[in-house]
């Protein structure tokens, strides 16, 4: 007797939001990217080897042996008070301090920035609500919004980040459609994936637009302290006490393995966030919090930030020089002012997702642009991350990628197959081979104006 099985007896029991979550060829290809033969310009891993690992290790040992009775115990839902004090110290570098109402009382410690985004979504989003987000936007946040069954409306960017006029248009379009936008999700500094930064003036403009529309801003700021060009642009939250939920993490400035992030929220919202977090995780790891607190209390963390910036600046410069030297005509890219990422636009007709197997075969990995748009557009783009590989490997990765692009271009030309133009109505990135050099990064060895 024959029997049929799907090997999944739970098919009719899954939550609606799980629909469409299947095994993915892209995910499978990324499993190869972890091998040392592959130059991975994909994952956004910090170069933690630049930390004083011996000292950090000794600190970890003491936290266990001397303070284990508390560091190995449960903590409180809102997070360790000492760490919340240190978080406020860190936020002063982004202009967020007592003068604009920042208090440890309004900080909620989270399991990385990812839980911070998730908690914010749990508190604010109902299914069908609209989230406005940069196009492209952080893939992890898009996953959270998808799980919340929210509709993401992307707002175009250019070399200076989110375009204020486009934001106004998007708000109007959402309103006209009879929907409600709950918040604007933005990574204003050294954006993931585009690498660009909203300048002061635009931040004021965007804040005014959001305040006029009654739109909350969720400011995700993992990279704000990793700028290469001097002063940190003050955060949205530094400009107003209300209307901004500030989210950040120690994953890029200290260690992602600890999974410690935070939210600074208006008092009423903070209460909701704590309740939501307790329901989700009870409390963040006491040991991880104690580690971060001890690091910021006992180690020269500002000097370490400087070290990180120098490491990443060197790799950014190497990546940009390699792009300039090696990329075929028609390829464009952003010039990051800090952080980890370059957003690359392929020559017309190429498709970053389709090209990935060829790249893996040539032992280089990147993230296709489609991951950064909720609607799966963005195929003409890809994200390159230069933070982790040593400089010579960054250049080698770009060399391999350039060869892949040339092969793909030749093949598609032969078949007359086009991936279509860039996202309609979206950015015209002006940096790279096809546009003028960014005036913001005149010291970078970027591509010259054609």
């Amino acid at each position: 007797m024959t029997t049929g099985t799907t090997l999944d007896d739970y098919t009719d029991r899954y939550a609606r939001r799980m629909r469409g979550m299947t095994a993915s060829e892209i995910r499978a290809l990324f499993s190869v990217a972890n091998r040392p033969e592959v130059v991975s310009l994909a994952g956004g891993s910090p170069y933690v080897a630049a930390l004083p690992l011996d000292a950090v290790g000794a600190m970890l040992g003491a936290l266990g042996s001397t303070h284990g009775a508390t560091t190995l115990q449960y903590g409180i839902g809102q997070g360790d008070p000492t760490l919340r004090e240190r978080i406020c110290d860190v936020m002063t570098l982004s202009g967020i301090d007592v003068t604009n109402g920042a208090s440890p009382d309004d900080v909620v410690v989270t399991v990385g920035g990812q839980q911070a985004i998730d908690l914010t979504s749990r508190v604010f989003l109902d299914p069908g609500d609209v989230v406005l987000a940069e196009g492209p936007s952080y893939v992890g946040a898009l996953g959270v919004f998808r799980a919340a069954e929210a509709d993401v409306v992307h707002v175009p960017m250019d070399d200076e980040g989110l375009i204020p006029a486009a934001l106004s248009e998007a708000i109007a379009a959402v309103t006209k459609a009879g929907k409600r936008a709950k918040f604007l999700y933005t990574v204003p500094a050294h954006q993931n994936p585009a690498g660009v930064t909203l300048p002061d003036g635009r931040r004021d403009e965007i804040l005014s637009i959001c305040q006029a529309a009654g739109l909350l801003i969720v400011e995700d700021d993992p990279y704000g302290l990793l700028g290469f060009d001097g002063e940190t642009v003050p955060a949205f939250r530094s400009r107003t006490r209300d209307g901004v939920i500030y989210v950040s993490t120690f994953s890029k400035t200290f260690a992602p393995g600890l999974r410690v992030g935070w939210i600074l929220a208006p008092h009423a919202v903070r209460e909701k966030l704590v309740i939501a977090s307790e329901a989700q995780i009870l409390c963040p790891s006491a040991f991880a919090q104690a580690t971060v607190a001890a690091y910021f209390e006992t180690m020269p963390w500002q000097q370490q930030l400087k070290t990180f910036r120098e490491v990443y600046r060197e790799r950014r410069d190497v990546a940009l020089a390699a792009l300039h030297d090696l990329m075929p005509a028609g390829t464009r890219w952003t010039i990051p002012s800090g952080g980890f990422y370059i957003w690359l636009t392929l020559p017309d007709g190429l498709h970053s997702k389709d090209m990935l197997p060829r790249a893996i075969a040539e032992r280089v990995a990147y993230v296709p642009g489609t991951g950064f748009y909720a609607d799966g557009t963005g195929s003409a783009h890809l994200r390159l991350c230069y933070s982790f590989p040593p400089p010579d490997r960054v250049r080698e990765g770009v060399r391999r990628l350039a060869a892949v692009i040339e092969q793909e271009f030749a093949l598609r030309s032969a078949f007359g197959v086009s991936a279509g133009a860039s996202r309609p109505g979206a950015v015209t990135w002006t940096s790279g081979n096809a546009g003028p050099r960014s005036s913001r990064t005149a010291d970078a060895p970027g591509p010259e104006t054609p």
Partner: protein, 322 residues
């Protein structure tokens, strides 16, 4: 490496999984499943990746036998088998020559056709031919020769990666480009409509036997990567819902293919049985998938066998073979 617990006289087995192919992720899951099955059968087994540390490790501490759970060229193109031969380490599965034949789909189809085994007509073309001769002209010839629908797939590779069914002439060029992303040579066949089945062949000492055929019904009609490895997207019927005579004929064709390609120990033969009941061999695998949704383990279970014990028997045979 973690070590299992076997008896004093049990062979020490090394399961190779991972590698650098597109199917690395699948291979890692296959390797874990094989490891668990062997250990459950009391075999002292370990698993390791294939990298620069492998040969020194084999030299320093050679296992009694290797089970290859590597998919893609890393484990199926015959080169790993040739290296194990050089090292004098026995392994389960077809030898280097057989693996090389089966791995390259056009080569395997030639062998099958010469042996009188039905396989869809085909042409294999490297991407350079399209650029040299003009893709449009070549595509026109393909369409006039085979008509529609067409199967386009990489000449080497598995898991449905780079494979498309082309039902519209306008989609052919895109399918070719998608295929060439995975391999520089494309295999183009007329699409044979019918039932997709997989017949696993195992030889535990009494000659190869065909296990019950597994029928594949992909929910969305396409047995692509997601359908293969996402539980719930495909219904598998074991044994396949074939007329008994057709089922016997299908098993016979699978055994013929196994023999014609010189395979040994175990293989998986993929076939399509058309509406008239005629089986066509599509391809053969020398290192079949062993994941939770893979076909050979399903067939083993349907035959009333235990995967670990079956593999243990094959290991014993490999050790004896030396």
């Amino acid at each position: 490496m973690t070590t299992g617990t076997g008896g004093a006289n049990e062979p020490r087995v090394l399961v190779l999984a991972g590698g650098l192919s597109y199917e690395r992720d699948v291979s890692l899951r296959s390797g874990r499943r094989v490891l668990d099955a062997l250990r459950a059968a009391g075999i002292d087994a370990t698993v390791c990746d294939v990298d620069a540390a492998l040969l020194p490790s084999l030299a320093a501490d050679p296992p009694d036998a290797v089970v290859i759970a590597l998919h893609g060229a890393a484990g199926e193109d015959g080169s790993l088998q040739a290296i194990l031969d050089l090292c004098g380490i026995p392994y389960v599965g077809g030898d280097a020559q057989a693996a090389r034949l089966a791995w390259d789909k056009p080569t395997a189809k030639s062998v099958l056709r010469d042996a009188g085994i039905a396989t869809p007509d085909w042409v294999a073309l490297p991407q350079e031919r399209f650029t040299e001769l003009g893709a449009g002209a070549v595509l026109d010839r393909l369409l006039s020769r085979f008509g529609l629908p067409l199967m386009v797939k990489p000449a080497q590779g598995g898991s449905g990666l780079g494979t498309s069914v082309v039902r519209d002439a306008a989609a052919l060029a895109t399918a070719m480009v998608g295929c060439f992303a995975y391999h520089p040579t494309a295999l183009i066949e007329p699409y044979v409509s019918g039932m997709d089945v997989a017949v696993s062949v195992v030889d535990t000492g009494d000659g190869p036997i065909a296990l019950p055929a597994v029928e594949i019904v992909a929910r969305d009609g396409v047995y692509d990567y997601a359908a293969r490895y996402t539980a719930g997207l495909t219904t598998w019927h074991t044994p396949a819902r074939l007329d008994p005579d057709v089922a016997r004929r299908t098993s016979g064709v699978a055994l013929d293919a196994h023999r014609a390609l010189g395979l040994r120990d175990l293989s998986r033969i993929d076939l399509i049985v058309d509406e008239s009941g005629k089986p066509y061999v599509i391809e053969a695998s020398v290192a079949p998938g062993m994941t939770d949704t893979s076909l050979l383990p399903m067939a083993v279970t349907a035959a009333g066998l235990d995967l670990g014990k079956t593999l243990a028997t094959l290991v014993d045979r490999a050790v004896v073979r030396g």
